[in-house]
Amino acid sequence: MELSESVQKGLQSLADATFFDMKTFSVFIEVAFRSLLSAHADRSVLDQPEFKRLDQKLLKHCHTAATTCILEGVKQNADKSTISACLEDVGFDAERTEVFYTTYQKCRSDLETLLSSLGRCPPHINDVSWRLEYCIKNGHVHKVNEPSYLISLNVENANNGGSSEDLHFSCTMEQLQDLVGKMKDAAKSLEKATQL
């Protein structure tokens, strides 16, 4: 796991008992993981009473280092030996490594979900709503007497900060049958693929 010099320095400070005793260290690790998982950036995340006596600059540096290390680990799907080796290199003793790794295991799958949702992709369909109507006449043609469907796909743009929009289109019964048929083909292939 490659970490920059700045990150390594921050972790070294974290390993240092003169700055962080065990209690402060444990609280710090909890705070670091929590700050990654919370939905909104919380300016007061480092305002814990345990950190009052610490130099604020040092605190921020350690926080950045810890979160970078955590994200790198989750990104690479690092196992216990990789994490342990990495932390050992920066001077973590066995107890601190254990605290870090335990919290890492606890938060890992949530962090993975978070990271997997980042990135570019085509607009994502979330839902569909439909309306069946029977057209009797319109301004240009009378006695139409035909049923038709109005379909609305609720689509989320991952790129535009999660804005969602609706895609509307109409179709006849035959066209809807075609659409559903093709979707079912896709679903069938999906099922076959999962059995391979």
Partner: protein, 180 residues
């Protein structure tokens, strides 16, 4: 009569592609009247055909309508033939004038598995990528690339099958049968 048939024969073409003044001039020369008279005559007939098609009137009603114009029986019959042969197409063209949403044209799909991204390696994320082809009533086509996950795909299929099933219910069948 022959010239008249020639002019009326061009009527469907006028309705499809727009009028052509040259045909008016040609007919005017042969009929020994001026082009404007021919144009008015043709426009009158076009109106007759479009209104009749719009309302989808029966043969009897059509005959009654043209009777007031005082044409010969042969001409009335000819006009009726013209109406019956072209009304479906005229209705289709008129239909394109109505306000409408783009309608479904085709769906292409593709199964992908995302293995890694910049933010996360070692992934196995199945996705279904689809290209939805839509067409405006004027003929403009558009295609949108969309993506979904397997669970949502099953949900979409379920919902749309419910929509299709609705048409077969007693309620809908009754409406479709009785409003004609």
């Amino acid at each position: 009569m022959v010239i008249w048939t020639g002019v009326t024969g061009s009527l469907p073409q006028f309705l499809r592609k727009g009028t052509n003044p040259k045909i008016y001039e040609g007919a005017a020369r042969k009929l020994s009247v001026d082009a404007e008279t021919v144009q008015h005559g043709v426009e009158g007939l076009m109106y007759l055909l479009t209104e009749s098609s719009k309302l989808m009137i029966s043969e009897v009603d059509f005959q009654d309508s043209v009777l007031v114009l005082g044409f010969t029986e042969e001409l009335n019959h000819l006009l009726q033939q013209l109406y019956l042969e072209n009304r479906k197409e005229i209705r289709h063209i008129l239909g394109e004038l109505t306000p409408s949403l783009p309608h479904y044209h085709n769906l292409e799909w593709r199964l992908d598995v995302q293995l890694a991204s910049r933010a996360l390696r070692h992934q196995v994320k199945p996705t279904v990528t689809m290209k939805l082809h839509l067409e405006e009533s004027g003929g403009d086509k558009s295609a949108k690339v969309l993506q979904t996950d397997p669970a949502t795909l099953m949900h979409l299929i379920q919902e749309l099958e419910k929509a299709l099933a609705e048409l077969k219910t007693t309620h809908c069948r009754r409406i479709l049968r009785n409003i004609k």
